[in-house]
């Protein structure tokens, strides 16, 4: 059990801080401070099935986020009525945001309606998995690992290519995308590799890396401030402790900032996916 709960508490885990304390009793300024590293995102699994399947802290965080999504969607949509109650209103507000502010800004209304389940799936999955980064005791976003961003980016890629092929036929779609009309023939030597790279490779890669890098950076930022605060309050001597007030205030500000980033990244991922799908339909 200890093996299970210790990683659960993660960076807020007092025992790990006390472990640091114990390791360096009476440590001077700087020497006892634990700074975050990329290793934290790859904790030891606490549950193994067979030789290849491992279940670690981040998987648990992921499951909690998914559970929250399922629960909230169920609560919001279980009894849909013409005159909505509070739960349904909130649910409609959230889905309506994706519908009107994301899907409909990038596609015609009928198409936005058809793609809404897909876009909403991306938005709410990314949002829920991002927000675990600022929730106490979870304190890490599993989107800092490549798997989910990559899967979603691949889905987005498949969706917009499929839309392009459906709208224009495979030949036309790829020809139009790779050989932009109106350019002199000689320019294709330059344009085609660029278009290939930007449309079919960089789009999904940037979707994936943007999200992942934001979550890694956010985790480091928050962890650094939490660690500094705990170090300054618990280990620093004299007046230096008062600096901890500053760092804890900064922690609060950065928590708010990370909530904003979590929402923003979900919004950007969903919006760019919509835009790519919309462009695939329009492209000529």
């Amino acid at each position: 059990m200890a093996r299970l709960w210790r990683p659960l508490l993660g960076v807020m885990d007092l025992s790990s801080i006390s472990g640091v304390l114990a390791a360096e009793p009476g440590g001077g300024e700087g020497t006892g401070m634990h700074m975050p590293s990329i290793d934290e995102l790859y904790p030891e699994p606490f549950w193994r099935i067979g030789t290849w399947f491992e279940f670690n802290r981040l998987d648990l965080v992921r499951l909690i986020a998914i559970g929250a999504v399922v629960l909230l969607v169920y609560l919001g949509a279980r009894r849909t009525r013409m005159v909505p109650g509070r739960g349904q209103s909130t649910f409609e507000l959230a889905v309506g945001f994706v519908h009107h502010q994301i899907a409909e800004t990038a596609m015609p209304p009928a198409m936005a309606r058809r793609y809404l389940p897909f876009i909403a799936w991306i938005f709410f999955s990314v949002l829920a998995l991002n927000l675990t980064g600022v929730i106490p005791f979870l304190n890490v976003s599993s989107n800092a690992l490549v798997a989910v961003p990559m899967i979603l980016a691949v889905c987005a890629w498949i969706a917009f290519v499929a839309q392009g092929i459906r709208a224009h036929g495979a030949g036309h779609y790829f020809a139009d995308a790779l050989f932009p009309k109106g350019a002199p023939k000689i320019m294709y030597a330059l344009l085609t590799p660029i278009e290939l790279l930007s449309t079919f490779i960089l789009r999904p890669v940037t979707l994936c890396v943007r999200l992942m890098a934001n979550m890694i950076a956010g985790h480091f930022l928050l962890t650094a401030f939490f660690m500094m605060t705990s170090y300054l309050f618990l280990q620093a001597s004299g007046l230096v402790k008062t600096v901890g007030i500053l760092t804890s205030a900064a922690s609060l500000v950065f928590v708010l900032f990370e909530i904003f980033v979590a929402c923003l990244q979900a919004y950007i991922f969903a919006l760019l996916t919509s835009v790519y799908i919309g462009l695939a339909k329009e492209e000529h």
Binding site: P7, L41, P43, E44, E54, D59, R113, S125, L129, I151
Partner: protein
Amino acid sequence: MWLASAPEGIGLFVPPWDEVIISLICLAITALAVAKYGVPRYLEVLDKRALAIEGGIKRAEEAEAEIAAIRAGLEGEKEAARVEAAKVREDARADAAAILAEAKTKAGEEARRIQESAQRQIDSERRSAEVSLRQDLGTLATDLAEKIVGESLKDSALASRVIDRFLADLESQTTAGKGA
């Protein structure tokens, strides 16, 4: 420490298989919850509401049109009633004038008739009175003359001559008086 060693470099972007499988399972669950359950219900209620609103607007428009039609009908009826009332009043006034004129005419005729018949009666009565007066006068005069002349005039032939002379005088006097 519980920390495992992290992958380095490009290894960060190569997810291990178990990671991919757990992620796929998680995303499949959210796909079921959001795309298969939540969003369709959202769209369904959105459509229902749109229909209801549309229906409501249509019903309101129909009701409004109906009210407008009824109001127009009422307005027409009111106008017709006003016209009819005016006509009735006009007719009544005309009738009254006609009746009055007729009554006046009748009354005038009646008056004239009464006057004429009265005149006739007066004339006839005067004539009969004249005749009767003339007779009475004759008799009275005779009687008087008889009494005055008395028995001296017993001779009837004489008497009738005197009478005739008297009457002739009277006659001439009357005609002279008339002529005058």
